[in-house]
Symmetry: D2
Subunit: 362 residues, 4 copies
């Protein structure tokens, strides 16, 4: 329970950071979609380390399609995607098994699973789980691109460095130009230096990612409990380290007046639009047709190489811990493809619920 998401387009996640593999079963994909491993691999590559301060664990992250595809097309059957873990080094985890790493799920998982959880590399709670999200997201993105829906995400803040907002039309392209996925290239440089500094300081950094979906049709989302923003939010909270989700103007609405926040309607090329988009593309839990804009807060990597006071849960005694292992100083850039994936997956499910895509593609 808890590892399946969605109503028609559903994901079932399995696998652990230091287990045999990370995997996901994607059910509900229409038949006839051209799909091969390279399609998925290409998305997975975008998630791999490379930017300043990213992990030294070097996983090939090679995608295998186990089921659901025949003769180059989806069959309508569930698609199982797997990536075998290769570069596993669990030694340090075993050594410090009972010393709770601050900011990690060690304590909650220990209590919930009575110590039986696979703690190696964080097990199910590792950021590595997003590899599976990205695999599923690759399929979702291919599907919704048939309706010209384009989903992308970019880094808008790392530590105290905030990116200047760019024209929405240019953002995707600009963000692709640097490994931090930051569309403000000057800010990107500052962010890089900040990350290098934090790494030297044996510390870590958080940030904010903005996700954008263009060409989302009007009318997606099911009020009142399965609404567009609510489902999106739940899907984004499935990304480890996310501590907040906001839509459109988000928390800034608190300081706005109705006369400022209301997006006025207008007609453009015979189509109803709003002049501003404080709503972030969602009104009443239903997509408006304007760009969908969400932002997620990503906390600083919990693993830091400094000594931290903590508790040994077996001895029930205080202790000190330096979390070594191999970690990203700042997980934000590597979470960008995960944000895209979870947005794509959620939108894809809504598209299928709305009957906007045939059950057989051609």
């Amino acid at each position: 329970m808890g590892n399946t998401l969605g109503r028609i387009f559903t994901l079932t996640s399995f696998g652990e950071s230091h287990g045999s593999s990370m995997g996901i079963v994607v059910d509900g994909c229409p038949a006839g979609l051209p799909l091969n491993e390279a399609d998925v691999q290409q998305e997975v590559e975008r998630r791999r380390p490379g930017a300043a301060g990213t992990t030294e664990r070097w996983e090939p992250d090679k995608v295998e399609i186990i089921s659901g595809v025949y003769d180059g097309h989806t069959t309508g059957a569930p698609i199982c995607l797997l990536s075998w873990n290769k570069d596993i080094d669990s030694g340090v985890y075993k050594k410090n098994r009972f010393a709770l790493r601050p900011g990690h799920a060690d304590y909650t998982a220990f209590v919930k699973y009575g110590g039986f959880n696979d703690f190696r590399g964080g097990g199910r709670f590792s950021g590595r789980i997003t590899l599976a999200y990205v695999m599923a997201g690759a399929i979702a993105r291919k599907l919704i691109s048939r309706l010209d829906i384009d989903v992308f995400a970019h880094t808008v803040q790392i530590g105290e460095v905030k990116a200047q907002a760019q024209e929405l039309a240019d953002t995707k392209e600009k963000a692709a130009k640097n490994p931090l996925w930051c569309a403000d290239l000057e800010a990107a440089e500052k962010m890089t230096r900040l990350i290098e500094k934090a790494k030297q300081d044996k510390d870590s950094l958080g940030g904010i990612i903005e996700g954008v979906a263009l060409n989302v049709p009007v009318g997606l989302g099911e009020p009142v409990f399965a609404n567009f923003d609510g489902e999106l939010s739940r899907a984004l909270f499935a990304i480890p380290a996310v501590k907040g989700v906001e839509v459109g103007a988000g928390f800034a609405v608190a300081g706005m007046k109705g006369s400022e926040n209301n997006d006025l309607y207008d007609i453009e090329n015979g189509r109803i639009v709003t002049r501003t988009n404080n709503a972030g593309g969602v009104l009443g839990g239903i997509s408006t047709g304007m760009p969908v804009i969400v932002r997620v807060a990503v906390k600083p990597t919990a693993s830091i190489a400094r000594s931290q006071e903590t508790v040994d849960i077996k001895k029930m005694a205080k202790t000190n811990l330096e979390v070594t292992g191999r970690h990203d100083t700042c997980i934000v850039p590597r979470a960008v493809p995960a944000v895209e994936a979870m947005m794509a997956v959620t939108i894809c499910d809504f598209v299928l619920q709305a009957g906007l895509m045939p059950k057989v593609l051609s």
Copy 2:
């Protein structure tokens, strides 16, 4: 589809703002809980207007239990709760039917439902839907109080007025002292004046509500897709006007370093605690046993009496509109009980999933 929430403790919502009634079916409540209409009415009263700038629509909001209770106790059968609408005045809605109210769901609902949606008073998209949430929340709160779980919410910002944080232990009591549910009494006065001013200006205000749950047991939440914060977030987005949800330090984590954000473990009375609570009571999607802290951003009431430019969707022509009707200048205080209700409902479902409550109470 979309009007049922939860896995074991489930809510099914029905009813419209200007229809016969607002109702909700609560399924999965254990048998044997003492319950009568007064228990629910008491919670509903907390949601009724009264503060500065609240609506002039005067609904009795009288709760009726239609099923699921016999001889003063829940029977284990679904509990249908109803409140008949009485003070309905749909004239203005009919007159302006096709002029899209900015900031409302008029446009999205019109497209999604092809104009067949009940537009009177916003229909399903009215804030009045939270009356049903509060009715269901009353049952959830009674249930989880058996585990000493206490849920409350309070206003931390209205417009630009921010409340000073109070001691967590005092917050609930202080917030109960004013109709804005703001624990900082000085701020509350400023907020009141701000609301009065906005009303005069024919404008409206948004704000931020903080929800708190105390004594939540360690271990609630199902990683990875049905995690504690994700489900909470989705439930909170079901409250109209919510544009953001954050947990613990929330969006502030973006500017924090790992060494600041990590909550260090300690032992207190033989129990593992954290010295700080930036996590807001959730790590790895599982409750930590520390207070659960969430904040939701509430947008300013979309209905403002000023003239706004908009579009008449029937004529597909620009027009101007003053939204008259009867509205709250600031919905924040009336959303406070809704935040409590959705938190209680979500936590109750997790408690039942975790098998922490017997199926028959005594």
Copy 3:
């Protein structure tokens, strides 16, 4: 939990036999369907007593639409349907409260709900629950009739009297000619006499109902776990007293050879058909386009006026019991509309899942 059925077209049931009402919330109905109370009432009338040996409880069974309909059309919002109970006489139930009625749910409900269940008239376990099914079924039938899908059921056996199979094309019309819904009119007369005899003998009778759905499109049903026959079966088991469900040749397949049972394919008017229909319209869990044929076994009414040995669960002592109250000697004819309703509801959900019906009707 357990009182909601369906994925897109969903039913949430509430109400008790001797509570205030029987009700149901139908969610997922497309907007724009013309619907009024008379449409539903007409289906409900078919379920009312009248045949030999039917109950003397005389409920008006007056349908009220509480939500989800505006201006004569469905709005896309959940439709709550209610029928207030009027002719309630709970005296005898209270008197014999702890003497377990053989064949009823008294014992299982007592244990499951710790004695808190509403036992009056069987509470949630009364056949009266099918009133709500029929209300929901009325909506489903209106919807699927847009695809020319026609669902009907008829009595094929009562006690030892078996009806002769009629031409499928004539069956519906013939069955409508007598209150037992038996298409073999001679058999119907024998059944009537058998019921009268059983009533005199203070005994009761069971039977078999056949449900038929015509013009079901090819391709409904989701292998492997939500297949067409499996979902149909689960829905039919929701009708109290059902002890078996079979599809097509059903249990007779056990004695057949592959060469007899296989339905050979042919082409008719440019369309692929099978010459026989032992499959009952389902292959591989997917509808074939041939008539869907199911049969359900209905047990004899558990309430019989004879003295039966049983146990008083409070005293934990043996006792004797005559179940008086007001009961049907044979529930079979009154279950016919319930079979139709559950078939219609299930097929409707599949039709919507398959995207075969627009979300807005016109």
Copy 4:
């Protein structure tokens, strides 16, 4: 959609007959259950061919646990189980790809998936899917055995040979003595000869399997839509070739009187029991504590080596077809472990829903 079953203990199936593998993800298993591949392999062995007339395809059916188990125990994370397909020969399927095999899902799958379905060996519609069910069932059985719940199934009819009912206490042991799983050893011999004869005749046989669950606690099942018999029935219809499910006296209730069918209550060792068990352990959709008895009708293998008239769906022309490949003359014995698995899985989910098993085992 459609490949996930269950509410708390959930199964997600993937894989095809001639694809890389058959697999299943089991979610919701409590942590701390000792589990290794041998535990599962042992159940899988019971499903392998061996009896008269079973297939010549010789798959090793070697089980691999891909995730969810660490250090010999379940971790609380989803358990992915895989068996790689080895002995694949798809030649004949490719040759006859468009000639619809009578009695198979070729036609329905072709239409539903637009010809993109993996048709090799029946793809998702192969009886081989039950390998995955049995893998999942092995875990469910280990879990419920902790409450002493014992599930077994046996063959009660093949073709026209019906087994004599044995004492329930002896049935399991007797059935284990022959590869047909028939507790009446004389009947088993006749069945064997009948199968040999059918094989010679290039024909096939169906039959009936009875499933039994002992020591099921009173109170499992959620009325009205997720009741014990309804959920069981749906799970059993997931086994290919099942055309009917009955509980207790099943279809025989049609010919019984209430005075015969009602199971009278009695007290035995301080516990309430019924003297007979026509109810098959279920009343009002809730388990009674008496043995759960279900019977499923299994149709004769659709693949027969005789020439059958059919249609070539590509040419839309009549044709003749001999289904060669490698098939079981009678699938009944190999479906016995599948019936056990689906019963175990369903009961396990109800046990977990009822909170009767801790989330952490020890």
